[in-house]
Symmetry: C2
Subunit: 230 residues, 2 copies
């Protein structure tokens, strides 16, 4: 547990005019009596926030607010920030089962928050997804990879690379025309996909009965009418 | 890092006929050469899975598959499972910045996966949200609380309780008629909300300028036509 008096204030970055997901971080900072600056609500704070999102900070650029700067460390994703703060400020159980259990509940709460948001702000509509969201997310991941490479987190494969393989494979299946058009922009992710696919254990798995085929009941479904036009 | 030969097989629980989110866990288990049983694809496996979801296991019941049984520990939420496996099997950076960075990327990937799923399977539609999703999520949280109480994770407040406060407060603002009807079913969450709200630091924060008001630009928006009818 950190002594509040002994530390430099945290910097919280979030949209200045809504509670949103940032509020879940604020509540933890307030309950912990941890000094923090709500950066985007200070003069020139918005432009500082947009610079970090654009990747002008050190380390991993956040995909979206909220994110928290703690010294040199920038932590993004609400539940991840709370995992970090929970441990530092005694707002989480210390033993493994409790620590993972609290995080599991928090992630379930985040799913619920996302659904509440979707009620008035659906982003999954077909054309919007292929036209805006696929380029935005893949562009972000490609940027991280080109900065960190050869793997998403640097020199060694992590679980994130396995997930990137699955996302590229799934999008190839579901949105082949969109992915063909994206090809030049995601050259790094494509190469990563191929490299993961060729790893001996992964290759053996993919060739086994343990691997289910993509189909129209899963996450990535091939409905040609949802893909870009030819 | 765990010696594969020395351990009891993991038990993976996921829908047996799709890749889905479970595939992200399978890829990690396969790349780690970690022995596992894909329980729902074995005889009587589905009924074992449904029993754990219904809360007939020890510890925290998972809200949904996938979840992983590792000895007595049950870990749910895909990114949380990967956080756990990544650390145990050398599939994640060891230092704090890398460990949190990998998890941050994974959570961003999970957001993307959820959006891909929404293309064909939107769950955020107004009436479905108030009629089905609010009762399902709040019912789950109420169940966890009544099992663990007085706080979500037991005797001490964690960041999850702060999030529960915010969710109840946000739903009260956005869907007052729905929440009024839910009141008897969420007596525990309501009491938790009140208790968190009255904590000295939280109360001082809520009364300060640092707390923004709910409004129609945030997650919880009050559109009376999306609420249950009077």
């Amino acid at each position: 547990v950190v002594q509040a008096g002994a530390m430099k204030p945290y910097e919280l970055y979030y949209w200045p005019s809504i509670q949103g997901r940032g509020e879940l971080v604020r509540l933890a900072l307030e309950e912990a009596a941890a000094p923090y600056v709500d950066v985007a609500r200070t003069p020139r704070g918005m432009s500082a926030m947009m610079k970090l999102i654009a990747g002008h900070g050190s380390g991993l650029a956040p995909f979206a607010p909220p994110f928290l700067k703690a010294g040199a460390l920038v932590v993004a994703q609400t539940a991840n920030i709370l995992l970090y703060l929970g441990e530092r400020h005694g707002l989480a159980p210390k033993a493994d089962a409790g620590r993972l259990g609290a995080h599991q509940l928090q992630l379930t709460a985040m799913d619920f928050v996302a659904e509440a948001h979707d009620v008035h702000h659906p982003v999954g509509a077909g054309l919007y997804f292929v036209g805006e969201r696929i380029p935005k997310f893949l562009g972000y991941f490609e940027g991280v990879l080109s900065k960190n490479g050869p793997f998403m987190m640097g020199p060694r494969l992590t679980y994130v690379d396995l997930t990137m393989f699955q996302i590229v494979a799934g999008l190839d299946y579901a949105f082949p025309r969109t992915m063909k058009r994206m090809n030049r922009k995601i050259a790094g992710l494509r190469a990563l996909h191929d490299r993961v696919k060729a790893r001996p254990r992964v290759a053996r798995y993919l060739a086994s009965e343990r691997r289910l085929a993509f189909n129209e009941h899963g996450i990535f479904r091939h409905y040609p009418e949802l893909d870009l036009a030819r």
